[in-house]
């Protein structure tokens, strides 16, 4: 493991430079592979520079929430695997993995990426529950963007398993045949999350792990074609309103590029 002094990162930023020679608004190379886990209803592996994550979509039939009886349910979870970084530990989700999962979930939910009404099986009784589980395999910075991209790619890759309904008197029994995949999920938006870091007063996108050690704050925005659907500031530090407006502007532009990589 190479350690880089945060001061070096700051001095470089001051000169308009980055440790890996990228431009301030340039992402590391992105690689998306989908359908890599056969047992999952949908899956995607995303590499963002040295960061590697896998998202898997699994589905079950369950009960809707009482306040949305005709809508399906989305549950997002993230696991920081112990081999992904020397500081990650085995154990229950900590605040970082909880925040990551909640930020990924928020962009998908708030952008209305999933048409939840189309996940209703029987109003008030049975709906589809979608689980997005994200495994962090290798941490080289900007986990939020990698995980968000893997999540939407896995959703786009997912297909409903076959649902069999057997009526026994008044009772209906639901069984799922996971071997048979049917229609794709009702995905209506492709939210992309863009993370900007502030280093020595400069705003740059897609911070790598060395840069994350030198940030004065990070902001992640989940955006659709022309709207911002979610925002999270996720490390100590502060931003001026002008900086936030600038981040909104470049996030919308950059997201359009990255969205093009989704099938």
């Amino acid at each position: 493991m190479i350690s880089i002094d945060p001061d070096v990162i700051k001095e470089l930023a001051d000169k308009g430079l980055r440790i890996d020679r990228r431009a301030f608004d340039e992402y590391r190379p992105i690689k998306i592979e989908t359908g890599i886990i056969e047992k999952a209803e949908g899956s995607a592996k995303v590499e963002l520079g040295g960061t590697k994550v896998i998202a898997g979509v699994k589905m079950e039939v369950g009960e809707p929430f009482p306040d949305s009886p005709d809508e399906g349910v989305l549950i997002t979870n993230a696991e920081f695997l112990a081999f992904a970084h020397q500081e990650f530990e085995e154990g229950p989700p900590n605040e970082d993995s909880i925040e990551l999962a909640r930020v990924v979930d928020r962009a998908i939910r708030e952008s209305k990426a999933i048409n939840f009404k189309k996940l209703c099986i029987e109003e008030g009784k049975k709906v589809w529950i979608i689980f997005i589980d994200i495994d962090i395999l290798d941490h080289d910075g900007n986990l939020i963007d990698a995980a968000s991209l893997a999540a939407i790619a896995a959703l786009l890759n997912a297909k409903f398993p076959k649902l069999e309904i057997v009526e026994e008197g008044d009772e209906k029994k639901y069984t799922i045949d996971y071997e048979q995949k049917t229609d794709p999920l009702p995905i209506e938006q492709r939210p992309i999350t863009i993370t900007a870091a502030k280093i020595n007063g400069k705003i740059l996108l897609d911070p790598n792990i060395a840069e994350e050690s030198a940030v004065e704050g990070e902001i992640s925005m989940g955006v659709t074609d022309n709207m911002i659907a979610s925002i999270q500031k996720s490390s100590p530090g502060g931003f001026s309103i002008e900086e936030i407006n600038h981040i909104a502007e470049i996030s919308l532009k950059k997201a359009a590029e990255i969205r093009g990589l989704l099938k």
């Binding site: 989700p93 999962a101 952008s111 709207m227 925002i231 999270q232 500031k233 100590p236 530090g237 502060g238």
Partner: protein, 241 residues
Amino acid sequence: MGKVIKMEQKLIVDGKRLDGRALDQLRPIEARAGVLKNANGSAYFRIGKTIAVAGIFGPREVHPKHMEEAETAILRCKYNMASFSTTERNRPGPSRRSKEISKVMREALMPVLFLENFPKSAIDLHVEILQADASTRCAAINAASIALADAGIPMRDLIASCSVGIVEGHIVLDVAGKEDTEGDVDLPIAYYPKRDLITLLQMDGMVTKEQLKQLLELAKKGAMKIYEIQRQALKSKYMEE
């Protein structure tokens, strides 16, 4: 099962909100410093029906020892909602939501603290939401900020927090009640006035970049009003003594 028929109730009529407020008006606020005996610093902050109490211990020794940092104090934050704070009982114990809020709250407050003055020590901050009626993380930060100052912890400034939102197409300050559950956008901020920096920023909902701009400007105005109330709360404690 019969369909539930929802009565449509407008949240904004003639530029007035359900509770009679103007679009850019905060709810009534009450803030007090030094409300607990044992804590090193404490505060009470009420905005409308949302009530937060914050208490501080520290700077003090770090337990467990392995959390200790050689060159700085650590700030440990806990945001918790009382079981009786919500209409339906809130299950006690930490939730994923409360863990996330505790994290962003800590990150919102850290910029004003001289943590480097207290190496190898901990500042423990606990905020209890006694009653929740939207914008609870903002109330928590406002109480926390007063409590930190009340504890005599060196600070560059107070952090003031409020929320803005979009309800039925209108931009509003200090989202409350039904506006929280039925509104389209909820955006809490925390503000560091002396440096003109936003130290907490979250958003749920769909906005254009022009709307985001307007939301942030209004939020800053609201936070400045809260900042004055926080300062007043601290002043009046020491005037009385």
